[in-house]
């Protein structure tokens, strides 16, 4: 088996998701997310051999612009208040999260063995790494109490879905591809505004949600 750049980037994406889970500061989480998005944004250029086509360049540029630049900028705007800079009281501790994350990655690799893609997949690590990234993002989403961390979790999950979508690069029209990208940006934009409102409204109370009230939320 020959190791390609695509495989290397996929593995790095999983490592970076694990790094996000183990990071305490929210600024750090957003920076790592931005790096992860930059790396997977390069993938459309590498996935087909030879010179990249105009469509591949467009998707790569769009992804890098939106996910690695605009989205982190909006998130930094949302946490400009000092009180929101670090995660407090996650449901599962940081050390435990990493161990559980590692188990989940193993599970994702095991699961991908039983997913038989009808055509021969060129890159062996694309599917398991995409599943692992999705599951880690989902774990971040459900085990953290801060609204902003939950947004980062959602975004990591979206990055995993993006990896999976590379399998279908030739089937999806450009219109849909761009629509998905726009959707993610609007989602983050609206979430950031709501986080901002939440922050203003809960300024006097602790800025985290009251777990009893949020109990059945996810």
């Amino acid at each position: 088996m020959e190791i390609t750049w695509v495989d290397i980037i996929c593995v790095l994406a999983v490592f970076l998701s694990l790094a996000i889970i183990s990071t305490r500061r929210i600024v750090g989480m957003i920076q790592i997310f931005s790096l992860q998005s930059l790396l997977i944004g390069l993938l459309p250029l590498l996935i087909n051999s030879g010179m990249p086509s105009a469509r591949e360049i467009l998707v790569a540029a769009g992804t890098i612009l939106v996910k690695a630049a605009l989205v982190p900028a909006v998130l930094f705007w949302a946490i400009r208040h000092v009180s929101m800079r670090s995660e407090i009281k996650p449901l599962i501790g940081f050390g435990t999260s990493v161990i559980i994350g590692a188990i989940l990655i193993a599970g994702a690799f095991r699961m991908s063995l039983s997913l038989k893609i009808p055509w021969v997949a060129q890159y062996d690590l694309l599917v398991p790494c995409s599943l692992a990234t999705m599951i880690l993002g989902f774990m971040l989403l459900v085990t953290r109490t801060r609204a902003i961390t939950q947004v980062v979790g959602y975004l990591v999950m979206e990055n995993g879905i993006f990896l999976f979508a590379l399998l279908l690069f030739d089937v999806m029209p450009l219109l849909v591809e761009m629509g998905i990208l726009l959707d993610i940006f609007v989602a983050v934009f609206i979430m950031a505004i709501i986080v901002n409102h939440i922050n203003e409204e809960f300024e006097h109370a602790p800025a985290t949600f009251n777990r009893e009230k949020m109990g059945e939320s996810i």
Partner: protein, 470 residues
């Protein structure tokens, strides 16, 4: 023609950014809604041609959804004229989101590409979030957050389902609906099954079907009635349209047995859960939100039973929208008058506000499917389909849960309408604009219940043909 339909609401979006007062913006929205309704009415005479290489096509199923959307926005914008007389908060973002929703929801109705449909449905989720948080208090912000998170995860699952569908359709190299239907025999079975499960869970989350309904009582309970009507009658039914498309693909690919069995399971859970939870509720908006879960369950049950059930489902789409207009707008006007929607604060509505009291009673009967409202007939058709297709256990669950839900709603509504009157917190007069839109919805609902116009019947029959083409 279809592109014009999608762009008209965007004019309102752009204009609503200009500095103007609340009343002007609502008038603009009303104008655009009437324009949308006029165009939809013209489609009733003849369906327009396809655009964008067959990506944007209107068929009879889409036409029903489009008519529902026109109807919802027209009644809501009429109601808003009255509502914003007593509401001082600026409605710029609110009207902006409503007009964007009008455009995007119409896009759901006309998109024939499964990927584009996902984009449109995801966008409806996003633009309905600012509607929920209109009042920006603690409760509504919490509800908005919960809605955003649960539905975003759901929508992400639906995207995975769409990708699985694309893998299963690898030999066809298309995600256009006609292409998928024609080549349904070549779809790879296991990937299609996986895709169907993901799509059902994802779009079911958006519809608020039972195990995924947890956002509904919060979001509907803490947002203003106008936002709730658009969501309960509009965006959730957009997600239902997606499930109808999945059902079309499944029946062509010979998976209809598998699909209807999981639909029936989800549908029954969506009837049992509200029947249990509604009995402990004291807040009228939350009670109506459980009723909305129930109606979504009824919709997918009709689809699953097949035969007359499919007609019942499409008919129920129209009826559900009308009933939701009556129920949630009445709840909204009560909440505005009393400053609360809890049954403990609201007693003797019929003495203080006789017209609203009557509306509340009528809303109870419309929402629980009583004669002469059309909901009665569509629910009866779906029950008939259950018996016809031999699902006797499901039929028993259907009847028992509907009865329990009626008791649950009636208990609180009668207490609110006839209870010992308390002094209203914010004494305000009845508003004619608010009342006109509620009366119109109730009259149309009772009207099509007693006499179904031949034209509407033809359109629904056409939709049934599109849906069950073997």
């Amino acid at each position: 023609m279809l592109l014009l339909l999608l762009t008209i609401p965007l004019v309102c979006t752009v204009l609503s950014l200009l500095p103007m007062n609340n009343r002007m913006r609502i008038m603009l929205l009303l104008l655009v809604s009437l324009g949308h309704a006029a165009m939809t009415a013209s489609f009733w005479r003849a369906l327009p041609g396809a655009e964008f290489n067959g990506i944007i096509v209107l068929d009879n199923i889409g036409l029903i959804l489009l008519s529902v959307i026109s109807l919802l926005f027209t009644s809501v914008s009429l109601y808003m004229i009255g509502y914003f007389d007593h509401e001082k908060r600026n409605n710029r973002v609110f009207v902006l989101c409503l007009s964007l929703l009008m455009s995007v929801m119409s896009l759901v109705a006309v998109s024939y590409h499964i990927g584009l449909m996902w984009v449109a449905i995801a966008t409806t989720t996003l633009f309905s979030a600012p509607l929920i948080s209109f009042h920006r208090n603690k409760n509504s912000l919490e509800a908005t957050w919960k809605y955003l998170l649960v539905c975003s995860v759901g929508i992400a699952m639906a995207l995975m389902g769409t990708f699985f569908l694309a893998i299963s359709a690898h030999g066809l190299d298309t995600l256009l609906l006609p292409g998928l239907l024609n080549g349904a025999g070549q779809l790879s079975g296991n990937w299609l099954k996986l895709s169907v499960i993901f799509l059902l869970v994802g779009y079911g989350c958006k519809m608020g079907l039972a195990p995924m309904h947890s956002w509904k009582p919060e979001a509907y309970g803490h947002s203003i009635g106008i936002a709730t009507v658009i969501m309960a009658g509009g965006t959730t039914q957009c997600a239902f349209l997606a499930l109808v498309r999945v059902s079309q693909i499944c029946s062509k690919a010979g998976l209809s047995g598998f699909y209807s069995s999981i639909l029936i399971l989800t549908g029954i859970i969506s009837l049992v859960v509200p029947a249990v939870f509604i009995l402990g509720e004291r807040n009228i908006k939350r009670i109506f939100s459980y009723s909305s879960v129930e109606h979504m369950g009824i919709l997918i049950l009709g689809l699953a039973f097949g035969g007359p059930g499919i007609f019942g489902s499409f008919f129920h789409m129209v009826n559900n929208a009308l009933a939701k207009v009556a129920m949630f707008l009445t709840a909204g006007s009560i909440a505005q008058k009393y400053g609360s929607s809890r049954a403990d604060d609201i007693k003797g509505v019929i003495h203080a506000y006789p017209v609203t009291g009557v509306f509340l009673l009528a809303g109870l009967f419309a929402g629980t499917g009583m004669f002469p409202f059309a909901t009665f007939f569509s629910e009866l058709m779906i029950l008939y389909a259950a018996i016809l297709s031999g699902h006797y256990v499901a039929a028993i669950f259907f009847v028992v849960c509907l009865a329990a839900i009626f008791v649950g709603i009636a208990r609180v509504v009668f207490e609110m309408v006839y209870g010992e009157p308390t002094v209203p917190v914010l004494a305000k007069k009845e508003n004619k604009f608010m009342n006109i839109s509620i009366i119109a919805a109730l009259v149309i609902l009772a009207g099509i219940g007693m006499w179904l116009p031949a034209h509407l019947e033809n359109i629904i029959n056409g939709a049934v043909q599109v849906a069950s083409l073997k």
